[in-house]
Point group: C2
Chain length 287, copies 2
């Protein structure tokens, strides 16, 4: 495939950034790739594995002559990186990101006057491995990438970002940033809070040793994501505060109702809540 960008800067060279570099180079859509990051060791891995043609800690310098900037860091870092990048990025450089919260990125792009060439993105993909050494050129194959271009986004910016993700095997869904954040608040950020709260309750149990001993498959599945990075999630909670609060309050209402049903021995009410959830859960498992 013909390169869509002659020179791409990928800022943040962790699992997502490095995998995009690997997949984009293999597909031929990314020409020269410059990796920007803080860890010299990680950048060395990126260079020796051929994922980046050059690497640097200096985002401003890297951006000279760049056609495309991909911010591939946690959500809060993406906002900061966008602010740092805009003064140095060439006028024609297309800007995108991979953050799991989209409205703050789109707002920053508007505030910085670059919303015409900014197309926010969120690949619904990932894994527990980290760093450039975990790069997987197939990470995005068959996965969904949500793009959240504003009404001002130029056709060439939309085409470049969508074309890059399609070339690495992803399926594109375009959504308003606010819709994305409202949906992800329920499908991703709320489960994180619920799993963390459940583990915090277990940690405070009077028979904690027995609790750890009897934590069976149900407890383990329900709380798997509670082992995630606390700093990353507290930042997401800040960035998507209003949407997450809506979801948490919706949960709080269902919870209070379920609690009152248990207290009153109202089995019909308990069953109705469980059945409502079970119906959705079974649909999700259908092919």
């Amino acid at each position: 495939m013909k390169p869509l960008a002659r020179k791409t800067v990928i800022a943040g060279f962790g699992l997502i950034g490095a995998s995009l570099a690997a997949a984009g180079k293999r597909a031929g859509v990314l020409g020269r790739v410059v990796g920007v990051g803080r860890s010299a060791a990680n950048l060395d891995v990126a260079r020796s594995a051929g994922l980046a043609d050059e690497t640097t800690h200096d985002l401003a310098a890297a951006l000279a002559d760049a056609d495309l900037l991909v911010l591939a860091a946690p959500a809060d870092a993406c906002v900061r990186l966008l602010e740092q990048a805009v003064p140095s990025a060439p006028e024609a450089c297309i800007l995108t990101d991979v953050a799991s919260v989209k409205a703050p990125l789109c707002a920053a792009a508007e505030r910085l006057g670059v919303d015409a060439r900014f197309v926010g993105g969120h690949p619904i993909a990932g894994g527990t491995a980290t760093g450039a050494s975990a790069a997987d050129p197939n990470l995005f194959r068959g996965r969904t990438v949500v793009l959240t271009p504003s009404a001002q986004a130029l056709p060439n910016a939309r085409a470049l970002v969508a074309g890059m993700w399609r070339a690495v095997g992803a399926e594109i869904v375009e959504l308003d940033a606010s819709v994305h954040d409202r949906v992800l608040a329920t499908t991703s950020h709320l489960p994180q809070m619920v799993a963390s709260a459940l583990c915090a309750v277990a940690a405070a149990h009077g028979d904690r040793e027995l609790v750890e001993r009897f934590a069976g498959p149900g407890f383990r599945d329900t709380t798997r994501i509670a082992a995630s990075d606390a700093a990353m999630w507290s930042a997401i909670a800040r960035l998507n505060r209003d949407r997450l609060l809506e979801a948490m309050d919706a949960f709080g209402e269902v919870w209070a109702n379920l609690r009152d049903g248990v207290a009153a021995g109202d089995e019909a009410s308990i069953r109705a809540t469980i059945e409502r959830g079970a119906e959705l859960r079974r649909r999700i498992d259908k092919p």
Copy 2:
């Protein structure tokens, strides 16, 4: 191994009852096995697979000359079955069960005057398959079985029930019934309520189609158990009401605190809750 019981009645011949029959016969600790259940088709499977030597719908008739009665039904059915069995069971017949809530069974045994020969049990094992056709003689191998004998339980009753479970590969832990129910309220019943509430919230979302589409691995793991049987769980919620309420209220407090932290943008408080849970979650995964 020498049979511990010449004639065992297993009332309820689903996954647990049928697997116990299979494992106990293979290990040689169960002699003659009589399967009692409601579904003629399921009892036919049990008999043709050699798991039961005879089968019947009539619990009272089955109990003639029995040395051991195992109630292998959901918790609420076990209480009813114990009430039905006691008038017909021989004086020397040892009684046990596999219910996931123990205090109501122990209380029923005391009320019925059989606490000396009743030893409550709860194998922490199971699966999604159901019925005698899913019988697995290795289901209990390496798993924990909690036994909750009262102070009145006779040594021969404790020895028979513990010996049976050890013979099929399980490890025995003895607990007070109330401690069992308090611990399981947090490790099993609370996660069920949390997962069900989370799915009920997702089901009521304004963008439900998108929610189903973006329910990724995190959402799926966190809610896997929400597809469980609503009638079984509403019965467990009734039988373990006070302990479950304690656990739900503990969760409600952590939840309110987390919600207020999100509302206030208090990242330090959010991080502290997530870290407290993550620390426990990581310990559980350690070998």
